[in-house]
């Protein structure tokens, strides 16, 4: 896989790569994708289900409930005045 594509994919995936990683992953992915060309000759199917078995939508009653106390969840989070801390947006 060429350098430009590796960098574009990494940017999309929020991964920063070193020079060595760009080269190494580029080679690995090229080798893997060459092997995946096997898929081009594989038979297709009209069926394209997402899951291997049939799944029905099962919805619970729309009643508000709280199973885990938010304070327990906040305990291990980096917070500021009960707000979860995150990075700047701009």
């Amino acid at each position: 896989m060429d350098r430009e594509t590796v960098e574009r994919v990494a940017r999309t995936a929020h991964i920063k790569l070193t020079e060595d990683e760009i080269r190494r992953y580029g080679n690995d992915l090229a080798e893997i994708l060459t092997y995946f060309e096997l898929l081009d000759e594989a038979p297709g199917s009209e069926e394209r289900g997402i899951n291997p078995v049939e799944i029905a939508d099962v919805l619970r009653n729309d009643e508000p409930r709280m199973e885990i106390d938010p304070d327990i969840l906040l305990k291990d989070m980096d917070t500021y005045e009960r707000y979860v801390r995150g990075p700047r947006l701009s």
Binding site: M1, T5, V6, V9, A10, T12, A13, H14, I15, K16, L17, E21, Y25, D28, L29, E31, I32, L33, Y35, F36, L38, L39, D40, A42, P43, G44, S45, E47, R48, G49, I50, N51, P52, V53, E54, I55, A56, D57, V58, L59, R60, E67, I68, I72, L73, D76, M77, D78, V84, R85, G86, P87, R88, L89, S90
Partner: protein
């Protein structure tokens, strides 16, 4: 070995085999009826849960996974969270961000992956059951390498609530144990509908009729590329099955060779979206630099704490889903999954199971694994991925030992929801097969 002596020697046994990432410090089993361990991608209230990833270091979940809650309700005491490949990404458990479990039959060799620590615990401790998770073969592969029984039930049989996702359309929680009877017993404990996982809510009842196999199909594609030891042990096992009165027939399953690339496309596509949630906020590592803009902050944490194989799979999965490529890879892989399912259904009309060796070789040495390329690693999974993309229940049973003394396993694949026939096979096989337990010293 009593529960008390297991607990008292836990520390020293673990320092030899490195099966646990986190473990109990209790030396008294209290009212417990049995001890169990769980793969570290299952959330547990009282133990750190990292799924083998440094990005989750310090994560203490506020809730138990449904399977852990059910095992506790049945009287189980959780003694440890088992080491694994990071997020399940591997065949040898060597892609762990923490400790790499050692094979109980030879400490210089791998336990298999990604539920390597679970297979190790099942082999080392007497009367021990371990919860494993399979996405592409992560229960059967380590079961085979460590000489124990392992079953991954039908996709949707066991609730995935509290499982740290790898590939949502592929992940299945199952059981590893040195005792065949534990498969029926503990799948019975953890199976069932759970409103917290809608995919578990359409399942038919788990049968316990003791239905016996009359006929197994051995696909030609499943006996190619085997090591001499595996081939010999498998042929002996086929003879034994015939002696047990089971018909063995060779069949063609041409779709199997497409399963490996289809699996890696589906699994990495799903993994790359699932792993988007790890950005250094809310849980696990939260030591990013808040002076940075969000893009840089997220990329910094992810690049620092994801391991080598996690990055590789994120890149591969992101690529195969990208505009311009997704038709060729992701859409085609979804079609191939259906073709593989149809191939199994066709063969299982006339047979009770599809049978092949679980892995093409015995547990490799760590120094040999380090020489393998990424593609070499993926190719090693060609026997286990077909049943996994098909969502069909599959089970590895020990069937022999190589000239190197290492265990060899064979894998039965049954039709969707037909775990019963696998349980019965394991129970019958256990009576015929002489298992050699590893010599365990602390």
């Amino acid at each position: 070995m009593s529960m008390k002596s297991v607990l008292e020697t836990l520390e020293s046994v673990n320092s030899k085999y490195l099966m646990f990432h986190a473990k109990t410090s209790d030396t008294d089993a209290g009212d417990a009826k049995f001890l169990f361990s769980a793969k570290d991608n299952l959330t547990s209230k009282d133990m750190e849960t990292c799924a083998g990833s440094r990005i989750l270091e310090g994560y203490f979940p506020a809730f138990d996974a449904t399977v852990i809650a059910k095992m506790r309700e049945a009287g189980g005491k959780l003694i440890g969270k088992t080491n694994m490949d990071e997020f399940g990404f591997g065949t040898f458990s060597t892609n762990s961000g923490f400790e790499i479990p050692r094979n109980p039959y030879d400490l210089e060799r791998a336990c298999g992956g990604s539920s390597g620590g679970s297979a190790c615990a099942a082999a080392v401790f007497e009367d021990h059951v371990s919860l494993g998770v399979s996405t592409g073969g992560s229960i059967c592969c380590p079961a085979s390498f460590c000489g124990v029984y392992g079953i991954a039930p039908t996709y949707g049989r066991v609730s995935r609530y509290g499982l740290i996702d790898y590939g949502n359309s592929l992940d299945k929680i199952g059981i590893l144990s040195a005792k065949a009877g534990d498969l029926r017993k503990y799948i019975g404990v953890i199976a069932g509908r759970d409103e917290r996982d809608p995919t578990s809510c359409v399942q038919p009842e788990l049968k316990n009729e003791g239905r016996r196999m009359k006929s197994v199909a051995v696909p030609k594609e499943g006996v190619e590329g085997l090591s001499k030891d595996v081939e010999a042990a498998f042929n002996n096992a086929l003879e034994e099955l015939r002696r047990m009165g089971i018909d063995v027939e060779t069949v063609d399953m041409p779709s199997l060779k497409y399963a490996m690339p289809a699996y890696y496309v589906l699994a990495t596509s799903e993994a790359s979206t699932n792993l988007a949630r790890y950005v250094g906020m809310r849980y696990g590592r939260q030591d990013g630099d808040y002076t940075l803009k969000f893009d840089e902050f997220f990329s910094g944490v992810r690049s620092r704490y994801f391991g080598d194989e996690a990055k590789r799979r994120i890149l591969l999965g992101t690529f195969t889903r990208m505009a311009g490529y997704s038709d060729r890879y992701y859409s085609k892989a979804r079609q191939v999954r259906q073709v593989v399912i149809q191939d199994y259904k066709r063969v299982l009309q006339d047979h009770d199971a599809v049978l092949a060796p679980t892995m093409p070789f015995t547990a490799p040495r760590f120094d040999d694994i380090s020489k393998m390329s990424a593609l070499d690693n993926y190719k090693a999974d060609y026997l286990t991925v077909p049943a996994n993309i098909a969502g069909t229940p599959h089970m590895s049973v020990p069937c022999g030992y190589g000239s190197d003394g290492m265990p060899i396993g064979m894998q039965f694949v049954a039709d969707h929801w037909d775990e019963d026939v696998l349980f019965t096979m394991a129970e019958d096989w256990e009576k015929e097969f002489e298992m050699k337990r590893p010599e365990v010293g602390a």
